[in-house]
């Protein structure tokens, strides 16, 4: 994952839990190579990490891999947060993994990843919340909105479990509630207008 880095970044953080993997597969079905780095924080057991990457890699032109500590944030890449550690972005440029306590029962936490993004005049951000129990990601969506990012959540009728997107929506900071296909189109649009 080492390439020449453009000066600015478009970073999309997707938070997903129960019911999320099949939504992710829809979002990344025929997903083109776009000028953005995409971070996926999926609540899942460790032994599923590589399988999820493999599934996503089948249908997208983006490079897909399990995020490693110290990875530079590169456009054209989907980074899947590994289980059992928190993922943060340092200076919007470097992925760091931390073995801190669970947050809202989970590690990695969507909130931890999203709130690590730093306001920057050159970088662009988007946060997306998919199906899942609980409210992880709501604080993250509030943060991404506060730093000028775009915020999306999965349309409730399309969720296996709608608690997480509902909690995000209830912050009043979600720009759009969209079905998986709409989320895909919106991410592509955000990346291409970067």
């Amino acid at each position: 994952m080492e390439n020449a880095a453009p000066p600015n970044r478009t970073i999309v953080v997707i938070g997903s839990s129960t019911g999320g993997p099949r939504t992710l597969e829809t979002i990344f079905s025929r997903f083109p190579l776009v000028d953005a780095a995409i971070i996926i924080v999926q609540h899942m057991p460790l032994y599923i990490n590589s399988s999820l990457c493999r599934h996503l890699a089948k249908t997208t032109q983006m490079e897909v891999g399990i995020a490693e500590d110290g990875d530079p944030v590169e456009h054209g890449t989907i980074y899947v947060a590994p289980s059992d550690v928190h993922l943060k972005l340092v200076g919007n440029r470097t992925i760091r993994l931390f073995n801190d306590e669970k947050v809202q029962f989970v590690r990695p936490s969507i909130d931890v990843a999203m709130t690590s993004l730093e306001k920057s005049s050159g970088d662009r951000f988007a946060g997306v919340i998919l199906s899942g129990m609980g409210s992880d990601g709501a604080q993250g969506i509030r943060h991404i909105k506060s730093i000028g990012g775009a915020t999306l959540a999965q349309a409730l009728r399309t969720c296996a479990i709608h608690a997480m997107p509902r909690a995000a929506f209830e912050t009043g900071k979600v720009d759009q509630m969209l079905p998986p296909e709409g989320i895909r189109e919106q991410i592509i649009r955000i990346a291409r207008t970067a």
């Binding site: 609540h43 057991p45 599923i48 399988s51 029962f105 296996a160």
Partner: protein, 128 residues
């Protein structure tokens, strides 16, 4: 050597009709169905070595689906399995949020036959 994809599912449901429906749906697809009527029977199958996709009903007498998953975790029987809840409840119990990372999906009954076969085949591929 080519790895043989996992082609086994376990359906855990006290509703015998659901167990029969699942057999009718999956066995013609070449997928072995282990059908059990209780959480205890599920644990017994796991102890015997079952690994695959587990479709778990939530509301069962004596030991419900969530309690069964907690026992799977306590007994270290989770690894190598993908667990999806199979339920008539459209809203999960919030207090059980702490095991959510072990539940990949939440499939609400009644379900579309084609849809559940596609979804479960996808999860079987996770274990390949």
């Amino acid at each position: 050597m080519t790895e043989v994809p996992c082609q086994r599912i376990m359906v855990v449901d006290d509703d015998v009709f659901i167990l029969e429906v699942m057999k009718e749906l999956f066995e013609p697809e070449g997928i072995e169905v282990v059908a059990v009527e209780s959480g205890d029977a599920c644990i017994a199958e796991l102890k015997k070595g079952f690994r695959g996709v587990v479709l778990m009903d939530i509301m069962m007498p004596r030991k419900d689906g969530w309690e069964t998953i907690k026992e799977m975790l306590d007994l270290d029987l989770m690894e190598g399995n993908v667990v999806a809840m199979l339920t008539a409840k459209d809203v999960p119990d919030g207090e059980l949020e702490y095991i959510k990372e072990h539940v990949i999906d939440y499939i609400t009954k009644p379900f579309e036959a084609d849809e559940i076969v596609t979804v479960v085949k996808g999860y079987l591929d996770y274990l390949a």
